[in-house]
Every structure is written in C-alpha cells, then in structure tokens.
C-alpha cells in the first residue's frame, strides 16, 4: 500500500498545524462558530448529538496494522473505547472534545493518516473495491488511480468551496463492489480495443433525497489525462452547480437539469482548454504510486485444500470468504454485525486484535468495506483455520456476509443530529429475528440497508430491502423499500406503502422474506425473485 514520502508527510503535518491554529483562534473568540464550522468540517469534525464526532479517512478503505492499532488507541485515549466503521470506508468517533482534536490529528499524522476533507463542501474520501489487489475478477488494482486522485483532490484550491460535498469511487472490475454508479463521479478502469488501460467516467450519481444512477460521460479517458478530465468535471460543477438550495446542490442535479449531453459538452470544452495548461502529472508519477501496490510476496505452489470438517468454520468459509487471484490464498471478511449488535461498531480491543491478525496472517493489510465490515485481503488457506479460531475467541466470527444478518445501518437518531428516527434498534431487532444460521442460509444473499433519515447514509435506496426512518408527528416511523441494488445492475428501491412502527417494520421484513421463499425459482436471490414477480405479491402479504 501507499507510503508517504517527505512531501506527503509535510502536507499532513502542515494541516495539523493549521488546524491547531484555527482551534486556538476559535477558543480565543477570534473565529465565530459560523466562521469556524466549515473549517472544522474540512477536518472531519462534526457537532453531533452527544459531542463532537470525528471522521477519520481511510483512503480507498486500505490500512496497515500500525494504522489500525492507532485507530484502536485513539478510541481508548480520546473517546469511549470504540469506533464506528462507515458506509464510505471511514471510521468515526462519537465522543471527541474540540480541545483534543489537534492532538488526535497529530497522532494520526504520525502513522500517515488524517481526517482531511472527510466533511464539508469539498472532495471527500475516495472509495474503492474492498477486494482490490486480491480479487480474481479485477482487471487491474484500482487503488493507484484512487491515490493519484486523492493527492489531486487534497487542498485543491479551486474546489474547497463547492456547492456541496463530492464523492468519488474507483473500481476495476465488472462486479461493482463499491456502489460506483451512486457516486458524484464513479470511475471504472477498463481496457479499450487497442488493449490500453483507461478510465470510464460516470458522473451524476448519488443517493440522499433524490437518488440517481450516474450516466456515462466519457467511455475512455487515457491514463495520462485522468487529472485533467477530473478537473474539467469539477470546474463545470463548481461554476454551474446550484447554490440556491442545499437540497439541489449536488452534481447529480446539475447533470439531470442540463441533461447528460449538455453536461458532457461543457466538460469536453473545459477539458480541451485544460489540456493546454499542463496540469497533468507525468505518467512517471502514476508508475511511482503503482510500485506501492505490487503484489505482496505470495508463496507459490501452495495447496488450495481447506479442511472444512469443523461445521462452524465451514459455514464461515462459505459465507465470509472469497476467491483470491493467487492459488493457495483466500480473502476473508470479518463481519462487524454480530447478532443483536450495533452494525459497524468495534471496540478498541477488537480493533487492535484485527490489526495484529492482519500483521500475522494478511501481509499487514486490512480493508474497510462500505458495508461496514473489515477484510483481510491476503490470507494463506493454510492459516485460515487458525485465523478463524482467533476471531471466534474475540466474538468476531459471525458468518453472515451479504445475508439478512449483515445489515448496513447508519448511526441514526441515537447518534446523529440529522436523523429523524433511530436505525440501530431496528437493525438489532431484525438481526435477532433472523439470528439463526439456518434461517440466514435458507434466505441466502439479502442486502438489507437502514437509513435514519432521507440523507440516506445507510444507502437504503440500494438495498434489496431498504428501510427509511421518518418522523411522523414526532413519532418514529419506518418505510419499507424493495428492489434496490448497488452492483453493476444498479437499481433504486421502491417503497411498498404506508410505514410501520419499530415492531411493525420487523414483521414486514419477515413477511417479505416469506413471499420470496414461497415464490423463488432455482437459484434466485431475493432480489431476482422480486424483479421477476414484482411488488404486488409483497404488498398483498405485508398489508393484507
């Protein structure tokens, strides 16, 4: 993975000094809260329901054991002993003090981490495929391109006061594991007919109040034009994105209102101009970054056999492990969704344990997924049982990846000042209702996502089953959506009808799974059956 050189280190150190100075001026009364708020947001510091919340960046979801250990230590030293992994591959701490934040950022900088631009109207953390560099089906590792874009977007002087936040995802496989088309810019690395690698740009996707799937703006951008093209996309947005209405300020609205053709025309015009300005790094820079993403020293000639006699281990391997590109290796996901637990939360001890296990069994590398789980990308099959036993001892062996138990939930009204309803108790109740391994296996793949408000941080539009919490005359109420998907076949969920209270929504979810089980045909997942039979049978069963 990428390692900072002296320049990268200096940039994060400078940022810490800048923020320390800004905090000092705030506490001295030289900055009002209105003036300070955008500055602290660009350092990931929110005011949330209980205290300040700090969102630390995990660039494209990749980190090493030293960094993961630091995240655990920060939870102990400055917070209340745990962290929350988010739907954008970051980590959040909920009980932060403003006066501690410069020191926290300094601690992060000491291990090449930061909280730069994890909030605010700027380019946010660039996300990617959690199996990058390990997946058998990827064209190329997408992360060097994400790193190139990360540096380009950090402190970009023209794009720090955009109309609204800006989220970019980069993938390199046909299977979209990063919900790429639901980003402001989604990039898929592709190979053209001449055999060259380049980037397909999708612009104008997003969730929130008005979910939209990003259209293709450019089929192929050569590698030596990536930054120039990105800059053109952003400049058109900075100049023409709406600034009159916060809820219509994302680029998806601009692309929608101009139309894809006109937005594309404006980008191509700006791009043609920018090509003469020399803003593109040389290909040598991309090559330099790529050196950090070469394969680890895989052993060759390893056996692909696994002793699956232990039934619990077998279940975990079947559910949570994925094929690795290298024979004898496997990708292992740690579910942070124990039955009845809080999705995405991990204690400091669990975080440090995962760090150690990564060091021992995964070439010192971990990934954070946008489904709020942790991945060990490169595990020798020969080590897998030992790894699983250690996870099992620590309560980290829940075998529910991509099943109804693997719930994505935003923090909701228990933590978030934007929320209208609590999401975590709903997740817990559903998790318990479907707690048995047999039930989960019977249902199979089912991506259930819960948002506590219309901002959709739980990605409920993209859930096979989605739940949206609303405020109905001061009382929490939950709407049910069906048929969303974040993969290559991206689709947006449709609402079933009137909402439910907390117990009602759990019953409604169960009824939906019963309709699926009664109607499914060979090999169909929940999503497939829904797409085949439509909404009506579900509506009938749920509303009677």
């Amino acid at each position: 993975m990428y390692k900072y050189d002296q320049y990268d280190q200096q940039m994060v150190d400078t940022r810490v000094a800048e923020f320390r100075d800004q905090v000092k001026r705030r506490l001295a009364g030289d900055l009002t809260e209105d003036q300070f708020r955008p500055l602290r947001l660009q350092n990931g510091l929110y005011l949330q329901l209980h205290a300040y919340m700090l969102r630390v960046a995990v660039p494209y979801g990749t980190l090493n054991s030293t960094q993961m250990t630091m995240l655990g230590d920060i939870a102990d030293k400055y917070d209340r002993g745990y962290g929350h992994f988010t739907t954008r591959q970051n980590i959040q701490y909920n009980w932060i003090k403003l006066e501690d934040t410069p020191d926290i950022l300094a601690d992060l900088a000491s291990v090449e981490m930061h909280a730069i631009q994890t909030s605010g109207n700027c380019i946010r953390n660039i996300s990617s495929d959690q199996y990058a560099g390990a997946a058998a089906d990827e064209l190329i590792d997408p992360r060097p391109y994400a790193e190139l874009l990360r540096q380009w977007s950090s402190f970009h002087p023209e794009f720090l006061t955009l109309p609204r936040k800006f989220k970019i995802a980069v993938i390199a496989s046909e299977t979209d594991r990063a919900a790429m088309k639901l980003h402001d810019i989604g990039i898929r690395m592709v190979r053209n007919d001449a055999g060259e690698i380049g980037a397909r740009f999708y612009v104008g996707g997003g969730m929130g109040r008005t979910p939209m799937i990003a259209p293709v703006i450019r089929e192929f951008v050569p590698l030596d034009q990536l930054i120039t093209y990105s800059e053109a996309c952003l400049r058109v947005y900075n100049r023409y994105g709406r600034r009159d209405n916060k809820y219509k300020a994302r680029i998806k609205i601009l692309v929608h209102e101009l139309g894809k053709e006109e937005y594309t025309r404006q980008v191509e015009e700006e791009f043609a101009h920018l090509m003469s300005q020399g803003i593109e790094p040389p290909l040598a820079e991309l090559e330099r970054i790529k050196q950090y993403f070469v394969d680890p020293a895989f052993e060759t000639g390893l056996s692909d056999d696994l002793d699956l006699t232990d039934p619990d281990f077998r279940l975990w391997v079947e559910r949570n492990c994925q094929e690795h590109k290298q024979a004898g290796y496997i990708i292992a996901t740690v579910s942070l969704k124990p039955v009845g637990g809080i999705p995405g939360d991990a204690s400091a001890d669990q975080i440090r344990l995962m760090a150690q296990l990564a060091k021992d069994y995964s070439f010192d590398e971990l990934r954070v997924t946008h489904a709020q789980n942790i991945v060990f990308p490169h595990v020798k099959k020969a080590d897998l049982y030992t790894l699983w036993q250690k996870l099992d001892e620590a309560g980290l062996s829940t075998a529910n990846l991509d099943t109804v138990g693997d719930i994505i939930a935003c923090p909701g009204l228990d933590y978030c000042s934007l929320a209208n309803a609590r999401s975590i108790p709903v997740a817990q109740k559903i998790s318990e209702r479907f707690g048995s391994a047999e039930k989960q296996a019977e249902i199979g793949e089912l991506k259930l996502k819960i948002s506590g408000c219309i901002n959709a941080c739980g990605h409920h539009h993209a859930g096979h089953i989605g739940i949206l919490g609303v405020d109905r005359k001061g009382v929490e109420n939950y709407q049910l959506l069906l048929g969303g998907s974040e993969g290559a076949d991206t689709s947006l969920g449709k609402i079933t009808g009137p909402g439910f209270d907390e117990d009602g929504i759990v019953d409604a979810v169960e009824k939906a799974t019963q309709v699926y089980l009664s109607n499914r045909e060979d090999g169909e997942r929940f999503l497939d059956t829904y797409r085949r039979i439509g909404m009506d049978p579900f509506k009938e069963a749920i509303y009677g």
Partner: protein, 143 residues
C-alpha cells in the same frame, strides 16, 4: 471603497471604480471590472488587453465560483491585478493566491499576523495552477 489590505504586485494599484461585466463590454474606456459569482469570466477574454484590474466578489466566502473565475483569467494569460473583495477570510488566503489572486480587499480587515501565517502556510502544493508554483509531482519527477 474598501482598502486593499494585501497586495503582491510591484505596479501602481488601479483605483478606478470597477464596472460590471455587462457595463464593461459596452464601455470602451473602463479599465476595471468586477465579476460577481454568477458572471462568466470568459466574457472578458476578448477584452483582456484593456483591463488593468479585475475585482472578484465573494458575497459569502463559501461561494467558491470566484476561484474558477480567477484561474480562467490567468489561464487565458491575464497579467493584470485580480483582487478578491467581499467576504475574504484568513483561512482561504493561500488558496485564493494559488488561483491567481494577487490583491485582497476584505470587507472586514484581517489580523495581519494571522494573514501572513495563512499566506505562508503551505511549503508545497499537490496541484498545478497558473501561479507557476511547482507541484509536488513535478518535484518528484524533475524534467
């Protein structure tokens, strides 16, 4: 008329009243023009040779359209003064300068020490702009 508090030019400051973009294109003797956030800086490109001063207004510092305006002018080869006016804040000074601003006339005068710290904050930069500074990628790969 708000004072120019910081200026990074050697020539004499132009203090003619700045006219609007619309008025400028009609008036052949104006040499100072003011760009509002909704204006298109490219409307001025045919007339750059008669402009000595461009004021770019920031009614709110969080409306960042002025940054694109300034860069567009510099990219077109404009070498006159580009002056940031309005809600100009300490924490954006270095970014404004990178985008091509070389004069700053904030509505509310800024603390000069804080301002100097802000201008000098960043020893290095990740991106190339028309300000001529070598970005980090150029330092990594000297031509």
């Amino acid at each position: 008329m708000v004072d120019v508090q910081f200026r990074f030019r050697d020539d004499e400051a132009v203090n003619d009243p700045a006219v609007t973009v619309d008025a400028f294109t009609e008036q052949s003797n104006a040499s100072a023009v003011r760009i509002e956030p909704g204006d298109d800086a490219r409307d001025l490109l045919p007339h750059l040779d008669r402009i000595a001063l461009v004021e770019v207004n920031f009614p709110a510092w969080t409306d960042g359209r002025g940054y694109s305006s300034a860069r567009i002018l510099r990219e077109a080869g404009f070498t006159g003064e580009i002056r940031a006016v309005g809600d100009v804040v300490i924490d954006m000074l270095s970014h404004l300068k990178r985008c091509g601003f070389d004069a700053f006339a904030p509505d509310k005068p800024l603390n000069p020490t804080d301002a100097r710290n802000a201008f000098d904050r960043w020893d290095n930069v990740y991106q190339a702009t028309a300000d001529g500074r070598q970005p980090i990628w150029a330092l990594r790969h000297p031509a």
